[in-house]
């Protein structure tokens, strides 16, 4: 090996190590990354232990990788500055170096060590995040200790069933804070993927098997911008894949229990004359697919509407206003192409819904609530 090369290389390594200690890098990265994104949606502001583990892995990986990038860049820049033809002379024939065993060993062993540092937490977390044994734990009375949610992904909406509590809802997942919440995930038609970025990584909903994992939520969602965390479908599932959003409401354990109790006992009632008219239309045109009671099991043709008035969005992504609701009902294909909800003419004896009918339906639906 020629000596200038070796000296330059060593110099570069020393400089690199002195300037960039892994630790200070980590700190800088944390500050930089957490400035990014919205609290209710970003993986950089983890809202539970699973997301936090994954975020920490991101920081560790980024730090190691930044170190590698810096070492490469230093050698690169030095080489480029020192050995330009302008500098070494037009007619110089450089020494034809074959290679260096020492250097080969260095840049094989150091990367292996760096990868081992990353591989250890990777393997540990892989097993940790797949551990769903506590799902089946029962207390002295034989009741399950943990909340389990059966998630069914459908074109393009989400059904959430609480099998141990006898409650089912759609589009808006309600979970207790401060404990592990377990999920059984399945797709009803084509493959989707269940992702709540702020809470943790995604898991696919396959058509042929049930996947299981868990998430944790530290804090109640009431203080967030919309009062909910955002959930996304992360697997291409057709034209309206981008619109297959859902929301997550996190409640303290007491509030969650109250919510479950209310879900089981609340009956859908039409309040006022307009809403009563709406209920009649609903009972002739809509009820074949949409249930209005949250007590029950999964398997709805359309989303369960028992909590419609409490929700944050119409059809999972439109603003929760009567105007948007009426737009949606009068032309679902326009707003969510490829979805399976029939157009009004198929429901209303071959006619579009009239403005009065839409007003009545909107009034009725907005009144469906278990929280009020």
């Amino acid at each position: 090996m020629n000596t200038t090369m070796k000296e330059g290389f060593d110099l570069a390594m020393m400089k690199g190590l002195k300037k960039w200690r892994l630790f200070s890098l980590l700190a800088a990265l944390t500050i930089f990354l957490s400035g990014c994104g919205e609290e209710y949606l970003s993986t950089l502001t983890p809202a539970g232990q699973v997301g936090r583990d994954q975020f920490n892995l991101l920081l560790l990986a980024s730090a190691i990788m930044t170190f590698v990038v810096i070492v490469v860049v230093i050698i690169y820049v030095l080489a480029l500055v020192k050995f330009r033809r302008k500098k070494v002379g037009e007619n110089v024939i450089p020494k034809q170096v074959e290679g260096s065993h020492t250097l080969e060993v260095i840049w094989t062993v150091i990367p292996i060590l760096l990868l081992i540092i990353l591989a250890v937490p990777t393997v540990i977390y892989t097993y940790k995040h797949a551990d769903v044994a506590a799902m089946d734990h029962v207390d002295a009375d034989g009741n399950k200790t943990a909340v389990t949610v059966n998630v069914t992904a459908k074109l393009y909406w989400w059904e959430f069933e609480y099998p141990d509590l006898g409650v089912v809802t759609a589009q808006e997942l309600v979970v207790p804070t401060g404990e592990k919440v377990y999920f059984n995930l399945k797709a009803a038609d084509v493959k989707h993927s269940f992702w709540i970025p702020a809470a943790g990584g995604k898991m696919d909903t396959n058509v042929e098997n049930v996947n299981q994992f868990y998430l944790e939520f530290d804090k109640e969602s009431a203080d967030l911008k919309d009062g909910v965390f955002y959930g996304k479908c992360a697997e291409l599932c057709g034209p309206s894949h981008a619109l297959m959003d859902f929301k997550v409401k996190t409640l303290s354990r007491d509030d969650f229990n109250a919510w479950v109790e209310s879900a089981k006992t609340t009956e859908a009632v039409a309040d006022g004359e307009l809403a009563t008219q709406g209920e009649e239309i609903f009972n002739t045109s809509c009820i074949a697919c949409h249930a209005t009671s949250a007590e029950g099991t999964a398997g709805g043709v359309g989303p369960n509407l028992a909590t419609f008035g409490d929700r944050n969005r119409v059809a999972g992504f439109m603003d929760h206003t009567e105007e948007d609701l009426k737009n949606w009902i009068s032309d679902p294909q326009k707003y969510k192409p490829g979805n399976l909800m029939p157009q009004p003419k198929q429901l209303n004896d071959g006619k579009e819904f009239s403005e009065e009918q839409l007003d009545a339906l909107a009034e009725y639906l907005m009144g469906l609530s278990i929280e009020k």
Binding site: I93, P94, T108, L115, V123
Partner: protein, 620 residues
Amino acid sequence: MSSIAQKKGFGATLWDYLTTVDHKKIAVMYLIAGGLFFVIGGIEAMLIRIQLAKPDNDFVSAGLFNEIITMHGTTMIFLAAMPILFGFMNAVMPLQIGARDVAFPFLNSLGFWLFLFGGLFLNLSWFMGGAPDAGWTSYASLSLASPGHGIDFYAIGLQIAGAGTYIGGINFLVTIINMRAPGMTYMRMPLFTWTTFVASALILFAFPPLTIGLFFLILDRMFGGNFFDHTMGGNTIIWEHLFWIFGHPEVYILILPAFGIFSEIFTIFSRKRLFGYSSMVFATVLIGFLGFMVWAHHMFTVGLGPTANAIFAVATMAIAVPTGMKIFNWLLTMWGGSIKVTTPMLYALGFIPSFVAGGVTGVMQGAAPLDYQLHDSYFIVAHFHYVIVGGVVLAILAAVHLYWPLMFNQMLSERLGKWTFWFFFIGFHLTFFIQHFLGLMGMPRRVFTFRADQGWDLFNLISSVGAAFMAIGVIILVYNIIVTAVRNVPVGNDPWEDGRTLEWAIPQPVPFYNFRQTPLVRGLDPFWIEKQEGNKEGMTYAEPLSDIHMPNNSFIPFVMTVGLFIAGFGALYHGEKDWALPVLILGFAITFSSMAVRSLKDDHGFHIHKEDLMNEKGGK
């Protein structure tokens, strides 16, 4: 056949190209066809970025957007990147090893036509009821549910094009094993030949799983098979495995030749032997081998369980080691050299930081629990564009400039070349760097629109602006090519002056029989050795001047391919149109009778006589 230069009419030239079996002409056709598909795929990319430039945009509809992203990915991988690399392999590799041609010139032609007609078949879907819309990965539950014929075009088109690639891969393998000039041992082969060799071996093993998967898909969609229909006992996850057992090695099929191209560039423009040649070869082989061990890292979120995920996570990280070796060897090739920043070198210099960034984000995604967050988000979009654009496309653009004089005996404008580089390079980082953060901020990939105020608006706009820069770069390149072609100034051999390998030793324009006498290879970088020893003749030759045996041109590969193209439409409309079955049979009849003619008719080729060779100065 006369080898004396003569003006030919358009018809004669066209017929010459339709029937040619010359690796250099086939290379040009790969380059033109691949370049055309590259532009089409680029236009699709621009449509994507226009649609996503602002929230709630309605520039394209939801369904059309899915068709565009599917065709963008499929076109760029199968019809642009791979064929263009095949073009360079064809143009350069036989010359680098001092061969007359590839081992099977007839198959070389067949491979090209299969690729071209497969690509045309796929793109005809735009005009025949809609393009495929299930993503380039075409996951089974969605691809079975997709209405219309889009997915059928995808499955049949890729099957035809894939057969061409497979044939090409085998051809390169046999060529490199059997046709090296005397003295060209394996450990004297230039890195581009080595990477062609390993990439071809990957094609040999990676394409059969894709072929099987596509046949299953064709049977499921057109002939009532139930391989993937879970309600009939099928399983959709099998498609994911088959696809990625192909799909991951495919990444290396693309990137290894790119590594080869950059290895050539670093040595030429640093005027220095490749640092750590044997470890570079070892790393190439190792990457090829490990490439088959990691496919399930595309499937961490499928639910394979922690043990599978942990094993594939660690295996994935392991690939970083040989890749890192390569990066450091390139850096040390520059170290102590004499670096001249030409356009190809500029691309190579741009490649290092870009590819390192793509590589490290790959390791991050190898960490399975972290991948649960990154998978199918914009982070992965950023990552694979850093690898494919920052690696493969930069290599292709570098090679266009580097090998243009070898292929056409003209030099592309260096000034315009540098303009292309800077627009493309800055645009590339502007487009994709910020997408890492979009992914971390919760944006899923393959979304046709996004609502405002989720924190993604500005970054998406920046990304779209970057895409426009890349487009400008490509437009300058096209202009550069046209201007250079019109000017048509011959440059002769070794135009970069520091060529080291055999292809730079050959006279320009390259005679159709390549080297008049097969050269003798006396070490790594044989041309460099001869130049250093002051050999005025160019090379030392291994044989006296003697008759050269050449293959005849043939129209059969074209006809054979047209048969499959016709049969494709028969299969596509099977069970729907009455004419479908007869057309299917007709197509296969054409193909099989062409094969029969080829098998039964003796074609011994022809000889160029020694006397004719002695009278000749240069090319055709």
